[in-house]
Structure formats: structure tokens, C-alpha cells
């Protein structure tokens, strides 16, 4: 047993039992971050804050929400929105934060792609990040069911039907997932459970793993430079703060982070108070009706690009293309054959690949919102094919890349 002495202060008392000083060093003041970074390195912190906002607003919504097909719609649209004091605030925060989370995830992802932050020991950061993206997608979908409006019902119908896997006709599997022939009480109840318990639990675990994956390879920097963190941190601690290439996570990096976060939160709360309608689709203000499909059904903006990859093809090919789009990002560290860890601008053909991929994802997103008719059908098909071809071409265009 360790030797405990009479404590000289509360801090000393805690230190003897929990080693709080040591923990603080490992987690913050001696966790080293490169200096050569820009505002895009703050996206992780913004996502952590957004997730916290989702949890807090979710707790308050949970106190009035009723997971029942007869009362869910009213509990959201009347009780929470009109009766509960500030109920609207939690709902606006919850809806806007879920939408904006995906915006920041995409920025975070494309920053990593641009700077090559998935290579040389950083593969697990990328993989856990993509698993977080998938879990967040499931979380968003399950949450979308809960108000039990028309979009909830029909999105639930269409997305669960994907599991019949086209001509494989796994209709039993679809009925098993729903617990009914169509989305009903069993369906609403189990998606409620997934949304408020199982998926958030998985997300929290994955966030822990995502952070842990950063410890050994450390955060990347603007030039992909391999920094000797031990030597640089020693330089810093010996007093040469200016000459060292690294800084403390707290308070050095945090102060930069919080600056970006503060600017982001101005934008965020502007949306929450003055421009929240983009996150609350008016079609979902009609209660769920299994006998009427809305004239146009479309997913939230952040799913449109993958929806557009599903749409232009016949059912089987569409599902294969959709499945491809869901998993292909996960394989990026192995599809990029070049050893160069530098910004895309210094990487020859990959530079064009990066900007074309980003542009095409935006095009797919725009086309996914338009009705599948005439020219839009053709453009959608071209964009979807381009997406697939570009991923298949990636190993070849990166293989012969010159050493940067």
C-alpha cells in the first residue's frame, strides 16, 4: 500500500489519492501541440462543444417528449414548442446543433484529407473519425424519427427498406428492424432507445478512442513535418518557448481554440435564434400518415450526397453504389498510395483530385435536393459515376506521385 501522509491542503489530499497534478500534466499542460497550425485545427474542439450542447438540450427535451405514436407529435410540436417555458430554445439548439455538427464534421474531414492527416501512424485517428461519422449519421436518423411527422415516417420507411437489399428480398429483416410491417409503435420506441441511450453511449466511447488515437502520432501540422515531440517539448520546458516547435495543449492551444470557438458560437446562436427553420423541415409539421407520401421526400442536407449516389441507378446497382459511398472514405489511408504527408497543393495530381472531389460532393448535395427529372437526372448520374471513378482512380494517381 502507498504511503499516505497528513494532507497539507485539499489539493495535496486529492493528489495523494488521485494524482490530479500528474493527470493535469498528461491531459493538458504537457500534452504537446505543434505551433504550425491554423484555424482549421479548432474543428475538433467545436465538435466536442456541439456534442455537449446536443446532450444538454437533449436532456431537457427528454423530460417532455413522449415516445408514443399517438402523442409524440403533440409532445414535440405543442408541449415542448408552446407550453414548456424555453422548450423552443432546447429544440432549436438541438435541431441546429445536429445540422451544424455535420457541417463541421465535413470541414474536419476535408481538412484531414487536404493535409494528409490520415497517414504515417495517424490511420487509427482517421478510422475512428469515420466510425464517429457513421454513428453520428445513425444518431441523426434515429432522432429524425422521434417527432413522428410525415418526413419522420417516410424517411423511416425508405431507409429501413434499404435493408431488404434489393433483389435479395430480405423483407423479414426489414420487418424485424421495424417490429411491424410498417413503421409503428415498436419502431418508434426502439429508435427512441437507440437515440437517447445506445448510440450516444457508442459515440462517447468512440470519442474517447478518437482522442486516444491522437496521443502517439500527435496532431499533424500545416506542412506535414515530422516533429520530434520529445526534443521540442524539452526545449519548451527549458525556457526556449519561442524556439520550440510545440506548445502546451492548455493554456496555449486552448486559447487559440477558444478564439475560433467564440466566433463559431456567434454564428451558431445567430442560427438558433434567428434562422432555425432550415433545420426544422415544414413537411414534418404534418403528423405521420401511412397512407400519404409527401410530394417530395428528401433527407436532411448532410445526407443528400449519398442519397444522390443511390438515386440514379436501378435498385441493385444503386444499393451497391450507396454501400460503396458509405465505406470508401474509411479506406482512404490505404487507397492513397503516396508516402507524402504534405498539403494537397504540393502533391501533383492529388491536388486536382482533392478539389474535384470536394466540388463533386457539393454538386451531389445540390442535385439530391432537386426532383429527379430531366436534366437533373442526367447530371446526377454523371456526378455519381464521377464519384465512384475518382475513388477507383485514387490508388493509381497517387502511386506515381513524386516525393514532395
Amino acid at each position: 500500500m502507498a504511503n499516505f501522509t497528513k494532507a497539507t491542503s485539499v489539493k495535496d489530499w486529492l493528489n495523494q489519492r488521485l494524482a490530479i497534478e500528474k493527470v493535469e500534466k498528461v491531459m493538458a499542460s504537457e500534452y504537446w501541440i505543434p505551433k504550425n497550425i491554423n484555424f482549421l485545427w479548432a474543428m475538433g474542439m467545436i465538435l466536442a462543444v456541439l456534442f455537449t450542447l446536443l446532450v444538454i438540450s437533449g436532456i431537457f427535451l427528454l423530460m417532455y417528449y413522449q415516445p408514443n405514436v399517438d402523442t409524440a407529435f403533440v409532445s414535440v410540436n405543442y408541449t415542448i414548442m408552446s407550453e414548456v417555458d424555453f422548450g423552443w430554445l432546447w429544440r432549436h439548439i438541438h435541431a441546429v446543433a445536429s445540422s451544424v455538427t455535420f457541417l463541421i464534421i465535413y470541414i474536419h474531414m476535408f481538412t484531414a484529407i487536404y493535409y494528409g492527416s490520415y497517414k504515417k501512424g495517424r490511420e487509427m485517428i482517421w478510422v475512428t473519425g469515420m466510425l464517429l461519422f457513421i454513428t453520428f449519421s445513425a444518431e441523426a436518423f434515429s432522432g429524425y424519427m422521434l417527432p413522428w411527422g410525415q418526413m419522420s415516417y417516410w424517411a423511416g420507411m425508405v431507409i429501413t427498406n434499404i435493408f431488404s437489399l434489393g433483389d435479395l428480398q430480405f423483407n423479414g429483416l426489414v420487418e424485424w428492424i421495424r417490429g411491424d410491417y410498417v413503421p409503428g409503435q415498436a419502431f418508434l420506441n426502439r429508435f427512441f432507445m437507440l437515440h437517447v441511450f445506445l448510440l450516444p453511449l457508442a459515440i462517447m466511447g468512440l470519442i474517447g478512442l478518437h482522442f486516444a488515437a491522437l496521443r502517439i502520432p500527435h496532431v499533424n501540422n500545416q506542412d506535414g513535418e515530422e516533429i520530434d515531440f520529445e526534443a521540442e517539448s524539452k526545449k519548451y520546458l527549458d525556457g526556449d518557448k519561442k524556439g520550440s516547435k510545440v506548445m502546451r495543449f492548455a493554456n496555449d492551444f486552448m486559447s487559440k481554440d477558444i478564439m475560433v470557438l467564440a466566433i463559431f458560437l456567434i454564428f451558431f446562436f445567430y442560427l438558433v435564434f434567428f434562422h432555425y427553420t432550415f433545420a426544422l423541415d415544414p413537411v414534418n409539421l404534418d403528423p405521420a400518415d401511412g397512407l400519404v407520401t409527401p410530394a417530395h421526400i428528401y433527407p436532411e442536407w448532410y445526407f443528400l450526397w449519398s442519397y444522390e449516389i443511390l438515386r440514379p441507378f436501378s435498385v441493385n446497382i444503386g444499393l451497391i453504389a450507396f454501400g460503396f459511398a458509405q465505406v470508401i472514405f474509411l479506406l482512404l489511408p490505404w487507397l492513397d498510395r503516396s508516402p507524402n504527408t504534405v498539403p494537397a497543393s504540393r502533391r501533383g495530381l492529388f491536388k486536382y483530385w482533392f478539389w474535384l472531389m470536394l466540388g463533386n460532393m457539393i454538386a451531389l448535395t445540390a442535385l439530391g435536393k432537386l426532383p429527379p427529372e430531366g436534366m437533373y437526372s442526367t447530371l446526377g448520374l454523371i456526378s455519381a459515376l464521377l464519384f465512384i471513378v475518382m475513388w477507383l482512380a485514387l490508388p493509381f494517381i497517387t502511386k506515381n506521385e513524386k516525393k514532395a
Binding site: M157, G179, D180, Y181, G290, I297, R311
Partner: protein, 174 residues
């Protein structure tokens, strides 16, 4: 030696019991997610076919799904192609179009255009003719015909009768 084989045995025994427990709980979890007996028992609907008007597309409901029903006159039947007629359900000498009103692509309800006599699915743009045959992708096949049994003037949806079995065996519906 004796010691290590004893430990090996205990390890395997523990593994076996834990494995059985894990399989057992997976079975229980799977079955807990199955549709409830009350949901399954409510899966039958009886339609009185004599009340429909010729040429009018009516939406009924079975297992929470919309069911399209249209009574056809003799002239309408005569105009049909063989493929279209194969899908007709004949009750008491009258032909009917009966189909599950969910697009075979991903399950939206196609809207019936009365004038042009075809269905259009707004979700992904598939079309079907008035007999329920698919005329434009991405739907993989015509509208499914629900299992039915003919009982006099009544059509019992959810029960399998010989007429439906024949449609299924001929590959006309799933």
C-alpha cells in the same frame, strides 16, 4: 503438467458456459425485436369487392400499408395487354386491379394520375401503368400483389388462397 491441464480444462469449461450464455442472450435479444403477436394477429383485412365503382382507383389499408383497388369493366379488360391481364384478380366474374401501393424500389406511395392512367413515385421517379407493371426505373418490378383469398364477394387480404399462389408460382408477384 497436471496443474496446467487442470487450468486448461477450467478455462475451456468457463469459455463453453459463457459462450452458451452469450448465444442464449443473442437469441433472446433477436426475439425481443420480432413483431409482437398482436401486430401479427392484426394482419388480416376483408374487403367487400361489390362496393367499388368501375374505373376508380381506391386506396384501402392492410397491415398499415396502402392497397390500391380498381374495378374494371369488360371493355377495359379487352383493351389490356396479356401481361396486364395476367395481374387481374377475378371475383365473381369481375376483374379487379389489386396491389400494395408501395413503390417496389424503397416503399414510397406512387401517386395515381387519373387522366394519364399511370402511377408516379415522387421519391425516385419510378412509374407504373394502371395494372401496376413497372414502366420506368429505378423500381425493380411491378407493384406487389398482397396475399389474398377469395370468399364469395369478399377478398381476404393476408390469407393465401389458390389464386394468389398461382400468381406467385408464375412469377407475377413476389
Amino acid at each position: 503438467m497436471k496443474e496446467s491441464s487442470r487450468r486448461g480444462f477450467m478455462g475451456k469449461a468457463l469459455g463453453a458456459v459463457a459462450g452458451l450464455g452469450a448465444i442464449g442472450s443473442l437469441v433472446a435479444m433477436k426475439k425481443t425485436w420480432d413483431p409482437l403477436p398482436s401486430v401479427k394477429a392484426a394482419g388480416f383485412t376483408t374487403l367487400d369487392m361489390s362496393v367499388f365503382t368501375v374505373g376508380e382507383m381506391v386506396t384501402e389499408q392492410w397491415r398499415g400499408k396502402p392497397i390500391f383497388v380498381m374495378k374494371k369493366s369488360a371493355e377495359m379488360v379487352a383493351k389490356q395487354t396479356e401481361e396486364q391481364s395476367a395481374r387481374d384478380i377475378v371475383v365473381n366474374g369481375t376483374s379487379y386491379m389489386v396491389a400494395i401501393g408501395l413503390c417496389t424500389h424503397l416503399g414510397c406511395i406512387p401517386a395515381y394520375k387519373q387522366k394519364e392512367e399511370y402511377f408516379l413515385c415522387a421519391c425516385h421517379g419510378a412509374t407504373f401503368d394502371s395494372a401496376g407493371l413497372v414502366t420506368k426505373l429505378p423500381a425493380p418490378r411491378g407493384l406487389d400483389i398482397p396475399p389474398f383469398k377469395i370468399d364469395g364477394n369478399n377478398l381476404i387480404l393476408g390469407e393465401v388462397g389458390p389464386e394468389w399462389q398461382a400468381l406467385k408460382d408464375n412469377g407475377i408477384t413476389l
